[in-house]
Symmetry: C2
Subunit: 229 residues, 2 copies
DNA sequence: GGCCTTGTCAAACGATTGATTAACTCGTTC
DNA sequence: GAACGAGTTAATCAATCGTTTGACAAGGCC
């Protein structure tokens, strides 16, 4: 339950990890700085000293999560130029890679594998919980920061879709993007609902088949045949 | 901002409406019973008297939301029997009706129309916020209650999909259900993200075109032609 | 009239909240 | 070795939290 903090980490870092776990479990209002400090084996007054207060600690925790790249696009090259003869197959691969990036993030934290950008699955899971919560209902203080973080995702996927469906206007491209992003975000945001419906949660072993399902469903939905990919 | 409670309502009902708005805005921990009571123009001790405490008030608020049918399936007949000669077109109509039910709920609260199961768009919006928050991260005390509430949705949509794709096993039916439900839930859960990406939020005037988009995308994703529907 | 229940109220309860203070240690610098 | 800033500590701050209490008014019942 309560994780033993690494005593070799400096206090500031221990506080950030403890805050990440506690904020993810109980939310901003539900988490107390005393509980966070105790988890980090530090004095609660150090929250004011290092971060200026609870709000500052929360913002720094979000930046900590974001800088570690828990929610960054990985292995995604720029969308192909329309004149590229392989533009179509590259765009299809881009959609698949985009989906894979989200699916792997969502399922990795359910496994017991060590490593990852945060060192432990528990921290990785907490990072995703915190991040997704902020995407859904952004605290005003992080609104601008959020916009800067989210836009690359949209632009990459819309770029791929535009190659596959050059006939669509911007509004329809966004709706296609919405239908695809919605599927992969569902994995992140509804773990309890999925456990309820399926009986057992998805695990890392389901990653490949889920990527294929979402990709097939989405390409069909786009009206694109996978031929020649 | 703060709504004037209807003085003709009895205190218990005014407290429920005030709790609905406040819990939706600030969450369980962020909302105080003094603030709720003030909003209801009532004494804060009445929370204990009528509901046994803050936790009881929250549970009663959820039941209030659920009983009003903010999140019930509307106009959805049972999935057609396979031997029905019109089974296929009825199943397609079922998918479309299912999607429409979610889309209309998600967009109605952005309009200024009166009426609805809660009388005001503000209450309707708050009800959906509270409900979706509980679906994503259920408070343990409402876990069983949630299961009973969610299952009909899955069963109806899976029933329609089964008619359209009788070749799929249960696991694959659930994944199709997931891909469709994910799209419509995205509308509910990411209003800020949508506003961020599109510039302007969706409104009731977008309902029909969104229903058509989701339906077309989903039927294609299912591998079903809309011919003859 | 006497009595009980129901609903409401102001006041206060102890506990906990985030924040502040002053003292203290330790390593560095002059 | 005196002075200093950075880091840490226990103790305490005022404010707010959910809850409890005792009193009071109104209505039904005997």
């Amino acid at each position: 339950m309560t994780h033993t903090p690494d005593p070799t980490l400096d206090t500031r870092h221990r506080l950030l990890e403890a805050a990440l776990l506690t904020f993810a479990e109980k939310g901003f209002d539900g988490a107390g700085i005393r509980e966070i400090a105790q988890r980090a084996q530090a004095n609660s007054a150090l929250v004011q000293y290092h971060f200026g207060g609870k709000e500052g600690l929360y913002q720094e925790t979000l930046r900590f999560v974001f800088d570690r790249g828990a929610c960054k696009i990985r292995d995604l090259s720029a969308p192909p130029a329309p004149e590229d003869p392989q533009a179509r197959s590259k765009a299809i691969a881009g959609v698949r890679a985009h989906i894979r990036s989200f699916v792997e993030d969502a399922l990795a934290c359910h496994g017991h594998a060590e490593g990852g950008p945060f060192g432990s699955p528990a921290l990785m899971k907490a990072a995703l919980v915190l991040w997704n919560r902020e995407v859904q209902d952004p605290r005003p203080s992080v609104h601008a920061f959020l916009q800067e973080a989210v836009r690359p995702f949209i632009e990459h996927l819309v770029g791929c879709i535009r190659v596959l469906r050059p006939d669509l206007d911007e509004e329809r491209l966004l709706r296609m993007d919405m239908s695809i992003h919605a599927q992969v975000l569902y994995l992140h945001n509804h773990p309890e609902l999925l456990r309820l419906v399926r009986g057992r949660p998805f695990g890392p072993e389901d990653a490949e088949s889920l990527v294929e399902h979402f990709t097939t469903f989405s390409l069909r939905g786009l009206g694109v045949s996978e031929q020649g990919a």
